[in-house]
Symmetry: C2
Subunit: 191 residues, 2 copies
């Protein structure tokens, strides 16, 4: 794909992201995306076969944005606790700057029918590495030995709740520090 | 309000709930609700002043359904840990039978602009009692002394993740027992 086309593809994905956040997944159609970026609907179909493929591409695009920020934090030099803290802090820092990305991931994962069509952990090198690491920490008795995907999703939910409460400026939530959130997530996942 | 009218009001709320789950909040309008239950839009406006008031009424209706199931579990005879376990189990049991209620609450609370217009804790006797109890447990050093609303929302998110994974039949999640979820939520909120 040429650079120009890749830029157009990205414009479609960003515009679809904005629509999903504004109108929800069900309220997002290729017609609306086309109208938003003044492009013909058929042109969108030259990038994405259908609406569902566009939606999945939006999810992947946003997830990759998150992964690109977290991947450099995987550091085999770190002891387990420091590694875990670094990743939790990484998601909080990233989410503070890119809350739309976190929101879109949560919106997709909270939709039962879409959830099962999302890419799995084994389709991405970062997640493969991350879950190998968690398995390793579980074998060492550091992380709880229950379903690792469930633990990671739980951590992600807590961080999302924190970012959400900060976004809306709920006063009582503002009294919560990043360190307290990191500590809560650690209590959730560590043994 | 006469019984007949109260039944009609409920039909509107249930139909709006179904629409919110299918089409999202933004995809739910008074026109669509009216069409769904073959009623005139003006008739809906005789029950709810406007779309926003209808939405808030849906949230309250579903939250009251949850509260009606949890309120009998508040039992001053129980020791703190048993009380907390009983409440966590109560939400899981209720959510297993009424996942739509949990989903609607989550959908509303994940929407930053709506979130700030939802009823607060101080508007409901159950929540007033619940948060007094938590404050009491915090003073006793049993529950973590960080923002209680954040703790409760975190617990609710973990339970939602569990119900969601069970709904979609994600195989790996099914290996997770209710007891393990209760134990995780306890690790999150207890000191």
């Amino acid at each position: 794909m040429k650079l120009k086309n890749e830029q157009l593809r990205q414009r479609i994905l960003i515009s679809a992201t904005e629509l999903i956040i504004k109108d929800g997944i069900e309220g997002t159609s290729t017609v609306k995306v086309a109208r938003k970026i003044k492009m013909s609907q058929s042109n969108i179909y030259s990038y994405f076969k259908n609406r569902h493929e566009l939606l999945i591409a939006v999810f992947k695009y946003q997830q990759q944005k998150l992964i690109a920020n977290l991947a450099p934090l995987l550091n085999s030099q770190l002891d387990p606790i420091s590694q875990i803290e670094s990743l939790i802090n990484g998601v909080i820092q990233f989410g503070t700057q890119n809350f739309d990305t976190i929101r879109v991931i949560i919106i997709f994962r909270n939709q039962p029918s879409l959830r099962t069509t999302l890419p799995t952990i084994n389709e991405d090198p970062f997640f493969i590495k991350l879950f190998e690491l968690i398995k390793n920490y579980q074998d060492q008795g550091i992380v709880k030995s229950i379903n690792a995907e469930f633990l990671v999703e739980g951590a992600f939910s807590i961080i999302n709740n924190y970012l959400l409460a900060n976004t809306t400026g709920e006063l009582s939530f503002n009294k919560l520090s990043t360190d307290e959130v990191v500590s809560l997530v650690k209590d959730l996942i560590l043994r």
